[in-house]
Symmetry: C2
Subunit: 501 residues, 2 copies
C-alpha cells in the first residue's frame, strides 16, 4: 500500500461524497422533487459540482498523481490503486481543461434544460427546448474543444467519455456493418409482419398489477431489495449511490403491457451490474460500471437475449397469465414469445423491437456526428430527424414529442451516449456466445434458475467495476475485442427462425 | 450592502449546499433508502458534515465575523445581514468547541443509531438500542460540556439549541404551571370519558382513501404541491431543502382514522411555515423557522386549534363522510368533533389528545433533565419511563415499543426537542387569542376560507424566518413574551365546554 496514495485518499473520499450527493439530487429531481424546486436546487447542485471540481483539480492532487504515476512504474501500487490513478488521470484530462465557473454554469443549465425538455415534450413544442439545446451544444463543443487532440474530432471526445475504446472511426465501421446487414433483414421481415398478432399487448393492463408483476420480475432476476429500490419517473433509468444502494425507475402505460415490463428487465440488468461490483471498489473512482457500452450490454442482455427468450418465460409465463387472465388466457407461450420479438418498425426508440433498435441508434449517431461537425442547424433538427426516420425505419413522426423530443439524454448534455446502446447489444451477443460455451443457458432458464448466469456475469464482468475497460473485459472473457459479427449472427439466426425466412 | 459580507457569502453558500445535501440524505434515509445502504451512506454523510464544519469553522470566517461584528456596530449592515451574523455567531458557539473528528463520528453514529432504534422498536427490544443511546448521550454530554457557561447545566445547552429563549429555569416554571392546572382538569375529564363514543375511529379505513383524503386536507390548508411533496415514513416529519421544496411524510394505519389525519394537518402546519419564509431569506442561515417551539406552534395551531374545531369541519365534514360512508354515515359532525377532542389518556404521544399531550412532554422533559444531570441510568430508563407514565397519565406501557422506544428523537440525538411541542402549544394559544382580536377565525373557517388565517401567520410569523427569535415575534404580534396562561385558559375553556364541567 503506497503512502502517497494514503495522502490522496481524503481527496478521493471528499470527491466521492460530493458526487454521491449530486447523484442523490439527480435521483430526487427525476422521481419526486416538486416542480418549482429546480431554480433553488440547481444553485445547490451547482455549488456541489464546483466543490467536486475544486477537490479533484488542484495543485496538491496534481502533484500527488504525478508522484503516483512514477510509483506506478516502480510497481509499488496495488492493481486497484493503479486503476484508480488511471481513472483519475482520465478525470483530469476531462475536467482540468474546463474552467470551474463554466462547468458550474453548465451543470446548472442541465437541470433547467431538463425541465424545459420535460415541458416541451408534454406540450409537443420543440421551439421551447431548442434554445436550451443550443446552449448545451455550445458548452459541449467548447468543452470538447479544450480537449481535442490531433486527428480527433470534438465528437470523438464525447464518445470517448462513455467508452474509451471506441471513436468515430470504429463506430463508422461498426454501424456500417449493421446497416449493411440489418436494413435488408428488416426489409424481409417487414413483409411478414402480419404473420404475428400481438394485439393483446395494447389491451388495458391495470397499473397496480403491472407495478407488482414488474417488481416480481426484478426480484426473479436477482434484484436485491435490501440493497436497492424501485420508483417511478418520466423515463426509466438506473442510478446508484454505491453498491449497496442501487435504484431503478419505471414508467407505466395502462394500454401497453410490454413497455414497462421490458424496461423493468432492462433497468434490472443495469442494477445487477452495480450491485455486483466488489465491496472493495465501491465508493472509489473505479467503483462503477466500466463503460456505458458495457452497462448497456448487461441491461440489453437481460432485456433481449434472456427476457425475450422462450426458455425464460417457460417457468413464469403462467404467472403473467394469472395476473391478467382476461387479456392473456388465450395467448399461448409460443404466441407471446413471437409477440415480444415482433419486429415492427416504430417511432419510439425505447419501445423498438430488437431488430430495428440499432437503426434508431444509427439515426441519433449520425445526427450527433453532424451537430458536432457543424453540419446540422439545431432549429432544423426535427426535419433532419424526420427525414432519417423515413429513410431507415420507413416512418415519419406525426409530431416532435414522438420525434426528436422523445429522449431525455440531450437535455442532460448526454451526447455520445446513444452508440452505447448498440455497442451494448453487440457486447451482449458476444458474451452470450461465450456463456453458452460453458453452460446451457436455455436449461437453466427453463428451470427458473437465473443464478448461474448472473454469477457468470458477476465473476467475469461485474465485480471488476472500472478496473478493466470494455475491450480488456471482452478479451479476458471471450478471447477477442468487440466483434460486431456475433451481434449480426445472433439477430439473423433469431429472426430467420422467428419469421421462417 | 457590506463588502466584508460579500467576502463571507461564498462560505455561506457552500455551507448551505452541504447542509441541503445532508437534509436530502436524511429525507432519503427516512423515506426510501434500502435497508443495507446505511453503512456506506453514513460515510458520505459523515464527510459532508465534516466539510460543513470545515467550511464554517476556520480562521478566515472567524476573522470575517469579527470584522462584521464591528461593522454591525457601525450600522453598515442590513437587518438581514445582522441576523445572519447573529446566527453564525450562535453556530460558532455551537460548533467551534467541538473537534471536527468527534462531530463527524457523532453524525455517523446517529445514522446507525436510528437504524438500531428502528429495529429495536420493531423487535420490542430496548436492550438492542441502549448501547447506541448511551453513546449518543455521551457525545451530547461532551458537546454540551464544551459549551456550558457559569450558572448553566448541560441540559440548558441542549434546550437552547432548539430555542434560545428558554432554559431549565423557564421550563420548570412553565411545566409546573401546566402540571398544576392540567392534571386536576384531566382528572375531572377522565371521570366523564365514557360520555363520548368514538369507536368509529377504530373501524377499517382503506389506506388509499386515507392517502387521498389527507392529501386533500393538506391542499385545503394551503400546502402548495408545486413547492412540496408528500411521502411516507415510519414516523411523520417535515423537512425542507429551501422554501420552494418543502416535504412532509405520513404513516398510515388502516384501523385508525385520526392518527394519519391529524399528522397530515400537523405536518402541513410545519410546511406552511417553511413555504412562507421570504424568498430573500431562504438558503441563508436565517432561512428556516426561528425555533422548534415556534415551528411546533404552527403545526399544533393547525392540528389542534384549527383542525379539531367544529368550524373547520363544517364545510368539509360531508366530504369525509362520503369518503367512508359505511363508517361515518351515522356519525354527526357534533359527535365527530367530540370524538377528535376526546381526552383519553393513552401511552403514545403522537396519538395523545390535546389535553393530556403536555403530560407526555413533561415526562420526557423530566427524564432528559435527569439524564443530563447524571441522575438516570440509561439501562433503567424503561422503568423510569413506565413509573412516570403510571404517575401522570395513569397507564403503564405493556412493552418498550409502546413505551420508551416510541419516539424517534433520541436516536438522532435530539435531546431538548420535546419541550418545543408544549411551548408550541402555548405559543399557538397565545397567537390564537391575538388573531381573534383582528378577525373572526370561526367565520372564515365556516366559509372554508383558510387564506386570511394563513396570511396573518405568514405576515406576522412565517416570512421573518429566523431573523427574529420566539419572544421577539411574540412581543411584536401579541405585545408580550411567551405567557403560558393563554394555553391553560384555552384548554380549560375548551374542555369545560366539551365535558360540561
Amino acid at each position: 500500500m503506497s503512502k502517497i496514495f494514503d495522502t490522496l485518499q481524503p481527496y478521493l473520499d471528499k470527491a466521492m461524497a460530493l458526487e454521491t450527493a449530486r447523484s442523490l439530487f439527480e435521483w430526487d429531481d427525476q422521481t419526486i422533487a416538486p416542480f418549482e424546486a429546480a431554480q433553488y436546487t440547481s444553485k445547490v447542485v451547482g455549488i456541489l459540482s464546483d466543490e467536486y471540481m475544486k477537490c479533484l483539480i488542484n495543485d496538491d492532487v496534481r502533484k500527488l498523481i504525478k508522484k503516483l504515476k512514477e510509483d506506478k512504474e516502480q510497481g509499488e501500487l496495488t492493481d486497484k490503486e493503479k486503476a484508480i490513478i488511471k481513472e483519475l488521470d482520465k478525470t483530469y484530462e476531462q475536467l482540468e481543461s474546463i474552467p470551474p465557473e463554466e462547468y458550474r454554469k453548465y451543470n446548472e443549465l442541465t437541470i433547467v434544460a431538463n425541465r424545459a425538455w420535460s415541458k416541451a415534450k408534454k406540450d409537443n413544442n420543440y421551439e421551447h427546448f431548442a434554445p436550451y439545446l443550443k446552449k448545451i451544444i455550445e458548452y459541449k463543443n467548447k468543452f470538447a474543444g479544450y480537449r481535442v487532440k490531433k486527428g480527433q474530432e470534438p465528437y470523438d471526445i464525447l464518445l470517448g467519455d462513455f467508452d474509451e475504446c471506441f471513436g468515430i472511426k470504429d463506430l463508422d465501421i461498426f454501424f456500417d456493418k449493421i446497416k449493411h446487414e440489418i436494413i435488408p433483414l428488416l426489409h424481409q421481415v417487414s413483409k411478414k409482419i402480419d404473420t404475428i398478432d400481438k394485439n393483446y399487448n395494447l389491451l388495458e393492463y391495470d397499473i397496480d398489477k403491472q407495478r407488482e408483476f414488474n417488481k416480481y420480475l426484478s426480484g426473479y432476476l436477482g434484484f436485491d431489495f435490501n440493497r436497492g429500490v424501485i420508483a417511478e419517473s418520466a423515463h426509466p433509468f438506473t442510478l446508484n449511490l454505491h453498491n449497496h444502494d442501487v435504484r431503478i425507475t419505471n414508467e407505466f402505460n395502462k394500454n401497453n403491457l410490454e413497455s414497462a415490463m421490458f424496461s423493468a428487465i432492462h433497468e434490472t440488468g443495469h442494477a445487477l451490474y452495480e450491485m455486483n461490483i466488489d465491496d472493495s471498489l465501491t465508493q472509489t473512482p473505479v467503483g462503477g460500471g466500466t463503460s456505458m457500452g458495457m452497462h448497456e450490454s448487461q441491461s440489453r442482455f437481460f432485456e433481449n437475449i434472456i427476457g425475450r427468450s422462450e426458455a425464460f418465460w417457460t417457468p413464469i409465463y403462467s404467472k403473467l397469465v394469472e395476473t391478467y387472465p382476461e387479456n392473456l388466457k388465450n395467448i399461448s407461450l409460443e404466441q407471446f414469445i413471437k409477440g415480444v420479438n415482433k419486429a415492427e418498425p416504430s417511432l419510439i426508440r425505447t419501445e423498438a423491437d430488437e431488430l430495428s433498435y440499432s437503426l434508431h441508434i444509427i439515426i441519433r449517431y449520425e445526427i450527433e456526428k453532424a451537430i458536432f461537425a457543424g453540419e446540422a442547424d439545431v432549429d432544423k433538427l426535427p426535419e433532419l430527424w424526420n427525414k432519417k426516420y423515413q429513410e431507415y425505419i420507413g416512418l415519419t413522426p406525426a409530431n416532435d414529442a414522438e420525434g426528436i423530443l422523445q429522449d431525455i439524454h440531450w437535455s442532460f448534455g448526454e451526447f455520445g451516449y446513444f452508440p452505447s446502446y448498440a455497442i451494448g447489444s453487440a457486447i451482449a451477443s458476444q458474451l452470450y456466445a461465450k456463456i453458452n460455451d460453458v453452460m446451457s443457458v436455455e436449461d437453466y432458464l427453463k428451470e427458473g434458475n437465473i443464478t448461474p448466469i448472473r454469477e457468470f456475469l458477476r465473476d467475469s464482468v461485474h465485480k471488476y467495476g472500472a478496473t478493466k475497460n470494455t475491450n480488456q473485459i471482452l478479451m479476458d472473457v471471450t478471447g477477442e475485442e468487440l466483434n460486431v459479427d456475433y451481434y449480426i449472427k445472433y439477430l439473423k439466426d433469431k429472426y430467420e427462425k422467428l419469421y421462417s425466412l
